[in-house]
Symmetry: C2
Subunit: 319 residues, 2 copies
Amino acid sequence: MTSTKITDTTHPPSSTVHRRIVALAGGVGGAKLAHGLAQILPPEDLTVIVNTGDDFEHLGLYICPDLDTVCYTLAGLANPETGWGRVNETWNTIANIEKLGGPNWFRLGDQDFGTHIERTRRLKEGQTLTQVTKDFCAAWGIKHTVLPMTDSPVRTMVDTDEGELAFQEYFVHRQCKPRVKGFRFDGVEVAGPAIGAREALESADAIVICPSNPWVSVDPILRVIQKINKPVIAVSPIIGGKTVKGPAAKMYEELGIEPSALAVAKHYRTLLSGFVLDTVDAHLSEEINTKTLVTDTLMNNLTDRARLATDVLNFIGSM
Amino acid sequence: MTSTKITDTTHPPSSTVHRRIVALAGGVGGAKLAHGLAQILPPEDLTVIVNTGDDFEHLGLYICPDLDTVCYTLAGLANPETGWGRVNETWNTIANIEKLGGPNWFRLGDQDFGTHIERTRRLKEGQTLTQVTKDFCAAWGIKHTVLPMTDSPVRTMVDTDEGELAFQEYFVHRQCKPRVKGFRFDGVEVAGPAIGAREALESADAIVICPSNPWVSVDPILRVIQKINKPVIAVSPIIGGKTVKGPAAKMYEELGIEPSALAVAKHYRTLLSGFVLDTVDAHLSEEINTKTLVTDTLMNNLTDRARLATDVLNFIGSM
């Protein structure tokens, strides 16, 4: 019930410097806050655990959209226009596939294809996704730890008015048009956290749920890691009843819940030690049954990412 | 023992117009003459049967170097500098694979990757290589028939002083450096000709062996198709004791045979009704135990290809 407004600062106070954080992230929004945290925290103090429920096999390749978005973002290689894919990308591979009558609904750039081809090759050789991700991060100069949530196959399935759809089929091919009725995480019952994830969670001072889609980006991670005995701080991906990107607000609506920061706080209610919502939603703060931080949560540029990360770390420091 | 010098002409005499030709081709040199023939003959009168002994799986993709070189050349999409690969190509996929520490010795361009990805996808779905090639030719506007020699796996293995090497390992990775001792076409005993190849051979008026490597480009095709009851005309890939491209001359040398047009004619001796050799090798003509045509066989540009094709067709017409 406490609303805390913290003054913006680009320099973290000393109290936050040695805080060890695990960030849970999906795609674009999650990647941005993870990038902000990586600008503030030293490598040993940040582990990003990324959703792999939207991974899929396509064109014979093993594709990890959220993992790649997080890595490209942390490496400064992400396309700043789209948030996903690579900057300075070319599109000649997919153009030829299209010319040859192949599937063209999932747009992959030429550099991006290299990532999927090399990852698929390594997985077929027997490497784990965790190992591949570690090697790729090293190659791209990422010093913080990025982990897939699991090395086991977990597939987010979207139950819709047109039947159950694999996530990318719903999200990209059908452009989120079918009405959502529920979600299922195929394989989650037998999937353990990736090697290193449990250790990171145990040595963390706090867990930050990044502003990613609660239903399809964060819930799969939470389902895999199961127990969390640390303070959890979530940042709302819904601002003024809308999502910056992606179908989270539409999903809440179709499931009969008014999309709002309040709905997100309720989504995570059993977990939360603190909740971060946007200034435009300040009026909802009193209704939220945990400590709140009201601040600017929109991340339009690199400075915004570091500022929000600093706010979140200061909020954790104040608790 | 007959040497026939035919005057160059870019217009075929009427006698050749309705001749049905099957051309046997490997990579760059074979593709150029096939392209010349395609400029002269109507689509129904030319079938190109292409070596697949140098096909291989790499980066999880099914790659057909000779087949792609022939198709790209016939479609006008080939890189005129190298003879293989695509014109106006970019190299971003392989650059990222290289950055990630993946295998980079086989250089594939971005558009070219699209070909391999879509072909691999279709083969995994159960399409034959013949069907895939037919569809790709249609997409690229190739009107003449291009067939892989077989839909079965045949793999050219090169016996060398460093042991037996898979063809691309020898050819690209080791850059033909190991000394050749012999060749083996793994799987050839059980490989039948591709659907349509037998019919094309039976309805042909003549078979043209294009100026490709006799050991590793043409022999695998001849081994697969076995019986030929039609006149066979071969064009020497060796000019003045050297090959325009590729290791044919080096192979002859390492096998203890002086590389020359004469050696090529002897290579095919049981099959030949006619042999085409370059003007620089005119002196060898008398030693060749079949009808010969001495003409300019170097194909530096599109006009050269059509001219040599016309010469070859006129030679056939004269027989």
